[in-house]
């Protein structure tokens, strides 16, 4: 334990004193978030097309419609439910609201009414903002009519569009975290190759230090790095882009750690096939690029062509991305959480097994 602490401290100092890699380690998530944040947040004057399904003859629904129309930036379109649903699916609507036929006489008997709101789950963040606006609108109307609270309940339902519309930042942010964890893990393998190439492993191999201690300390450093990056990414998401993290601290941390160790062991598996840091880097790049684009961390899986889907379903990043999205921002699950965790654990075990089997210290 004393030896482990010493090696860990040495490792940590080595990492912290390497200014340029420390800089990139800290800057990488920041740069990514800002690039994606600017692209996806949308900015300035924007109008939201709100689909409204109603009976035009009903005076109550007419009142509500007028209230909605009075919101700046709202463009209200009236239509049949099916048509509006399709428009939402095509990304032509921000939300679709269904207003039930209610007679004014019915309003005072302490019954609450369902206002159904349909929105696109890939535009979580925008939808949340619009929903709160709509809730306010209804509150206003409510107060005008009765002065009594809790008359209306706004209930929501989401759809998964079958092709990509634009989607918002709350979809991207967990993706950036997943990407960061993947890279951190895979490049952990490269670090081992560097230690090997520099002869540090050999140099320590002549001492009584068990080499597994060195490896353990490497892994611990990686895990700490993963948590630091997670913190940075979430911190910026929350403070700069007003993101709300729905998952609890332990849920998020737990999944981040599972993701990190899965990709660390995947990195160690990959370097079993490399003879030098150069070839290792190429192998890792060859693996990480397809994963980056096929995992659904930046584009919903639904929009990908069918023939590529088996690949999508095979790669671990798909499940880490989906899991993080669910836990962090509460997107509609692509897979169930337990399935995501199970696949990650399976990947962890497989790559750990291969890494141990083909591990080369020299």
């Amino acid at each position: 334990m004393k030896i482990f602490r010493q090696v860990f401290i040495a490792n940590l100092k080595e990492f912290l004193r390497d200014r340029s890699s420390l800089f990139w380690f800290l800057a990488f998530p920041v740069i990514f978030i800002f690039i994606f944040g600017m692209v996806y947040s949308g900015n300035g004057e924007q109008t939201f097309k709100i689909g409204v399904v109603r009976d035009a003859k009903n005076p109550f629904s007419n009142n509500i419609s007028k209230a909605l129309e009075s919101v700046p930036n709202f463009e209200v379109i009236y239509n049949e439910y099916e048509i509006e649903r399709e428009a939402l699916n095509n990304g032509e609507r921000a939300l679709v609201i269904t207003i039930p036929d209610i007679e004014y006489e019915q309003l005072n008997n302490n019954k609450s009414y369902d206002i159904k709101v349909l929105y696109d789950s890939t535009r979580q963040q925008t939808s949340q903002i619009l929903l709160s606006v709509i809730r306010q609108v209804f509150n206003e109307v409510e107060r005008n009519i009765t002065g009594s609270p809790q008359l209306f309940e706004v209930s929501t339902e989401t759809i998964q569009p079958d092709k990509i519309n634009s989607f918002d930042f709350s979809y991207i942010l967990p993706g950036i975290l997943a990407m960061a964890l993947m890279q951190l893990g895979l490049f952990g393998g490269l670090q081992i190759l560097n230690l090997r190439e520099q002869g540090i492993i050999r140099g320590l191999g002549v001492t009584p230090l068990p080499r597994i201690t060195l490896l353990g300390s490497e892994i611990l450093i990686r895990l700490i790095m993963a948590l630091v990056q997670t913190f940075i990414i979430i911190f910026i998401g929350v403070t700069v882009f007003d993101l709300r993290i729905v998952g609890g601290f332990f849920e998020v941390t737990g999944l981040v750690i599972l993701g990190a160790i899965t990709f660390i062991s995947l990195g160690y598996m990959l370097i079993s096939f490399a003879s030098s840091p150069e070839s290792g880097e190429r192998i890792i790049q060859a693996v990480q690029f397809p994963m980056l684009f096929l995992s659904g961390i930046f584009f919903p899986i639904a929009i990908m062509p069918d023939y590529i889907k088996p690949v999508v379903r095979a790669i671990p990043l798909t499940y880490l991305g989906d899991g993080l999205r669910q836990i962090m921002v509460g997107t509609t699950p692509e897979y169930s959480m337990s399935f995501n965790i199970m696949i990650l654990i399976i990947w962890f075990i497989i790559s750990l097994f291969v890494a141990i089997k083909f591990w080369k210290w020299e």
Partner: protein
């Protein structure tokens, strides 16, 4: 007297290359043992195989009574030895003091950190990072890391290669200090004078095989009772060189190409000198910068292998 290290028929092959081809030797407790040979002779491979960094292809080894090819024994061995590898690779961003501390923590009974740093003459570099050290300083740090183990047997792989003369002498003092403490030292070198000065016993190795072994004195006596006379080449023709050998009663003629100097070896140095001067007069070739010396290990090496030791 017991032996700290016993090696019998050790073999290490890389495909067709016989890097170490059946060498045997033993190292007495408390002695300094040298392995001498040119680059690529198999010295480093020998050390790396001995201490379990490489698999052997044959032979038996005993280090302090343990077998380094048994996992369990190797663990014990590593606690009791110190090793300096030829290309010292360390965490480049740690300071000298930090890395010595780190290595000290690996051993059950290490030496005092400051003492070791002082012994290798790095006390004023204590707080500098490894990356900022010169090659020679890195080398001395590597020796310090081998010493910190406080082991009974220290392996030093070319500890003085690349050092300036002053640093080399400093390191010799360190090695002699180890010997005085009763530590057994196994070192490799391609410096003749170093082996001659430091070693109680040595082997000369070439192309993976031992070509001579014994004490430096014994080797010199065995292979060279002669003395050597060196002088600058006055421009002898091939015929004159042949005459030189026949007329002057010379045992052997060497020629150092880089310096353009002849080396004549003979047991009767007086007779040789007289003859040489007479020959110079008769051929009207002026011979200058003459030095007479005892045959050195380098001469032994040239005789044994037919080539110079520094390549």
């Amino acid at each position: 007297m017991k032996n700290s290290l016993e090696v019998e028929g050790l073999k290490k092959y890389y495909g067709n290359l016989k890097a170490v081809d059946g060498i045997s030797f033993s190292v007495e407790d408390g002695s300094v043992f040298g392995m001498l040979g040119p680059n690529g002779a198999g010295k480093t491979t020998t050390i790396e195989t001995l201490i379990g960094l490489k698999e052997k292809d044959g032979g038996k080894v005993s280090i302090l009574g343990y077998d380094p090819f048994l996992e369990k024994d190797l663990k014990e061995i590593k606690k009791k030895i110190g090793v300096q590898l030829q290309s010292p690779s360390l965490f480049p961003r740690l300071t000298v003091k930090e890395i010595v501390n780190l290595f000290a923590s690996f051993y059950p009974d290490p030496l005092e950190n400051d003492l070791v740093i002082e012994q290798v003459g790095l006390e004023n570099k204590k707080n500098e990072r490894v990356i900022s050290l010169s090659g020679g300083q890195k080398h001395r740090l590597a020796v310090a890391l081998a010493m910190i183990s406080n082991g009974d047997l220290i392996f030093l792989d070319e500890p003085t290669t690349g050092l300036d003369p002053q640093a080399r002498r400093q390191l010799w003092d360190v090695i002699q200090g180890l010997k005085e403490k009763g530590v057994t030292v196994f070192l490799t070198t391609h410096y003749m004078e170093e082996a001659e000065k430091l070693c109680d016993n040595l082997v000369i190795i070439d192309q993976g095989e031992i070509i001579a072994k014994g004490s430096p004195k014994k080797l010199i006596n065995e292979y060279f009772e002669e003395k050597a006379v060196e002088f600058n080449d006055p421009g002898f023709s091939n015929e004159e060189i042949r005459d030189l050998k026949e007329n002057l009663d010379v045992d052997r003629i060497g020629y150092e190409e880089k310096l353009n100097r002849f080396i004549l070896y003979s047991k009767d140095i007086k007779k040789l000198m007289t003859n040489l001067i007479n020959y110079s007069k008769s051929t009207k070739k002026e011979i200058d910068d003459i030095t007479i010396r005892q045959a050195s290990l380098e001469d032994v090496f040239i005789k044994l292998t037919g080539r110079g030791i520094r390549e």
